[in-house]
């Protein structure tokens, strides 16, 4: 590991647990902390806001994700919760703040703003130093990033303006099926039949869902088809960017095991995730902030 040697070592799906371990050893005393001995990364997305707090030695000491992205109070809430998670007084000022995500330019208190592509690349590499391909499916974008061993972007591909293959697509389908987004993967796990659903257009896909339901298909089978549809769309994007193992998934949709497994099948490759995958952009921003101290 180039820039984070010894701070947080990788193990499959273990990034956050290790960070927790580091934090636990610290026994943070918020009133003893200087106001400037930490940095903050803020990822203001289209649907959620994420925040990661790093100690100056690079250890992750706080994190938060809240529903509410651009144009909401989500960013402020995420900052406040991440500080609370780190055991830092809410009025303490970080040494540097870096912002990323669709709403990065609205973060007026940020010292630096970076694209979510380079931040996800950096964050993913911190979680998985062997990562060479990062698939980030967020609220309104899906991106495939090729990263170097230093965490820098080598190339990338991003979806066009269509919402197919994005988190927004999942939300629409969840609404159509009347189930919470968080319960989709569990329900789809009981699917016994492979339904074919369009991967080209959200509107077409939604009407196909209604047609399948009208013909008596189960919601589980419909969801299985939806996950494969997203996987086909993102898989094509990945082919365009070029795929090189290890493949890591970040963004909110990484937490959906159904999409993850469908995508792994589509690519014919194992996909690694961390409990911190959704925070990868904020983590990358925090690392950018740290590099500027």
């Amino acid at each position: 590991m180039a820039m984070d040697e010894g701070i947080l070592t990788r193990s499959e799906s273990s990034g956050w647990e290790e960070a927790e371990a580091v934090k636990g050893k610290e026994t943070l005393q918020s009133d003893e902390r200087r106001a400037t001995d930490f940095v903050m990364g803020l990822d203001i997305g289209s649907a959620t806001s994420k925040c990661v707090v790093l100690r100056l030695d690079g250890a992750i000491i706080g994190k938060a994700v809240v529903a509410g992205g651009v144009g909401t109070e989500g960013a402020e809430q995420a900052k406040s919760l991440a500080l609370q998670d780190a055991g830092i007084l809410s009025d303490a000022a970080p040494m540097r703040v870096a912002a990323t995500g669709y709403g990065r330019h609205l973060a007026t208190d940020a010292d630096g703003r970076f694209s979510e592509l380079s931040c996800h690349a950096l964050g993913a590499l911190r979680l998985f130093p062997e990562a060479r391909t990062v698939i980030d499916i967020g609220g309104q974008d899906s991106k495939v990033l090729r990263v170097s061993e230093r965490g820098t972007l080598e190339s990338f591909a991003m979806n066009d303006k269509c919402a197919a293959g994005t988190g927004r697509f999942l939300e629409e389908i969840a609404r159509a099926l009347n189930i919470p987004v968080g319960e989709m993967a569990e329900l789809a796990a009981s699917s016994g039949k492979c339904l074919d659903i369009s991967s080209t257009c959200v509107v077409f896909a939604e009407s196909e869902v209604v047609s399948h339901l009208a013909r008596g298909a189960s919601r589980a089978d419909v969801l299985g088809g939806i996950f494969r549809s997203i996987a086909a769309r993102v898989g094509a994007l990945a082919q365009r960017a070029g795929i090189c193992p290890m493949v890591v998934m970040t963004g909110g949709v990484a937490m959906n095991a159904g999409v993850r497994e469908a995508l792994a099948d589509e690519l014919g490759m194992e996909i690694s995730v961390s409990p911190l995958s959704q925070h990868a952009g904020a983590l990358g921003a925090a690392l950018r902030a740290l590099a500027q101290t």
């Binding site: 970076f114 694209s115 592509l117 380079s118 230093r150 820098t152 972007l153 190339s155 990338f156």
Partner: protein, 397 residues
């Protein structure tokens, strides 16, 4: 001319013309000159000029498609749809005719819809040959140009003489040479000739009288040449695509300190990168125009048995201009460009030239995705620059 005067000249002359072609059309008509719309691509503008008429490029416009939606599906070439919208809303009312080349598979069906939507504006169709380099292709194209010449004569109400065509070729070649010079000079002064100013200077050539455009551009080029060399610390890119003239899109390049140091854009360098050839002994001027078209290549619209030609051209542009990468501005929904992209990307990746693709449509209002992608590309180029510097210093270079 000072830097301030350079910027002032661009604003007053070139930006004004680039942003207000309808006013120029009014001015031509007020002066008693007929105007002919020039559709993409590779139309023989020289014949329109030789007829004493004003050619006006038709590359769509920024706005919303309403009436044209009755004629085209949503996933169709943006330029075709917007050009028809312009015809339907009356923007093209002052034109005496429209010259329509056929080399683009999307623009060819457009001509049928245009005739149906605006039967009052004469449409002069030019069926260009894809097999253009063989002698039979040149002969066929020469015949087609003869027919176009006759139809233009009918619109102009005057004969187009061989001498007038020869003069027009000279005027246009001089314009092409001056625009090529501008592109080179712009690359070495990116903070003065910003992406938006660069685009305005080149785009205005589609609307202004060519001799005036060339004369003002020559003065401008001389002034830019006299400026002190610039130490540009931002990124340098080659832009490739059909159109890259949106002020909103170009401001994203500017905000991310990406200088456009060369281009492979259809309504920019592709239209002037080569001159009409010198005449062979006693050669008819129409044949010169036919050979000029035959000499075009490295273009998604033109059949080329050598698949690597455009990739070589792009790599050459990167090398000659000192660019660090290539940005493909992908017109939605341009099939020829989309189909060219995979092999171009493969060729650039193979030699380690960073590249990115951003989508563009003239109906686009939100450039958030383009901003994210260009910001990431700019960061990527900067990171590579630092890595290269670091590698150079560690090896003592």
């Amino acid at each position: 001319m000072s830097e301030k005067e350079i910027k002032g000249t661009i604003e007053e002359v070139f930006s004004y013309s680039a942003r207000h072609p309808a006013r120029l059309l009014e001015e031509y008509r007020a002066a008693g000159q007929k105007a002919v719309g020039i559709l993409p691509y590779y139309a023989p503008e020289e014949l329109v000029y030789a007829a004493g008429m004003a050619p006006l490029g038709l590359w769509g416009m920024e706005g919303s498609v309403r009436g044209a939606g009755r004629y085209f599906p949503a996933f169709y070439c943006a330029i075709a749809r917007m050009n028809l919208e312009m015809a339907l809303v009356g923007v093209l009312d002052g034109l005496s005719a429209v010259l329509a080349p056929s080399i683009c598979d999307a623009m060819r069906p457009f001509t049928q819809n245009f005739k149906s939507a605006r039967p009052d504006i004469p449409m002069i169709f030019l069926a260009q040959p894809q097999n253009r380099t063989e002698e039979f292709g040149v002969v066929y194209m020469t015949d087609e140009l003869a027919r176009v010449r006759e139809e233009l004569e009918a619109v102009a109400g005057t004969r187009i003489t061989d001498d007038a065509i020869r003069d027009a070729i000279a005027v246009y070649n001089e314009s092409r040479a001056e625009r090529r010079r501008f592109v080179r000079l712009a690359a070495s002064h990116p903070s003065v000739i910003t992406p938006e100013r660069r685009s305005d200077v080149l785009k205005s050539a589609w609307f202004m009288p060519k001799p005036r455009h060339t004369a003002v551009l020559k003065t401008l080029n001389d002034a830019i040449e006299a400026l002190a060399p610039e130490n540009w610390t931002g990124g340098k890119v080659v832009v490739s695509g059909i159109l890259a003239d949106s002020a909103s899109l170009l401001s994203v390049f500017q905000d991310n300190r990406l200088a456009i140091v060369a281009d492979d854009v259809a309504n920019e360098s592709r239209s002037f990168r080569s001159d009409m050839p010198l005449p062979e002994k006693d050669e008819a001027p129409l044949r010169i125009l036919a050979r000029g078209f035959a000499g075009q290549g490295a273009d998604s619209l033109l059949h080329d048995p050598d698949l690597s030609r455009r990739a070589r051209h792009l790599k050459g542009l990167v090398e000659e201009s000192g660019a660090q990468g290539v940005v493909f501005v992908m017109m939605q929904f341009c099939d020829p460009e989309e189909l060219d992209y995979p092999h171009l990307k493969q060729a650039l990746d193979a030699v380690g030239i960073p590249n990115a693709q951003i989508g563009y449509d003239q109906q686009m209002r939100d450039f958030g995705q383009a901003r994210t992608q260009l910001e990431a590309f700019s960061e990527m180029l900067a990171d590579r620059g630092r890595r290269d510097c670091s590698a150079a210093s560690s090896t003592g270079r």
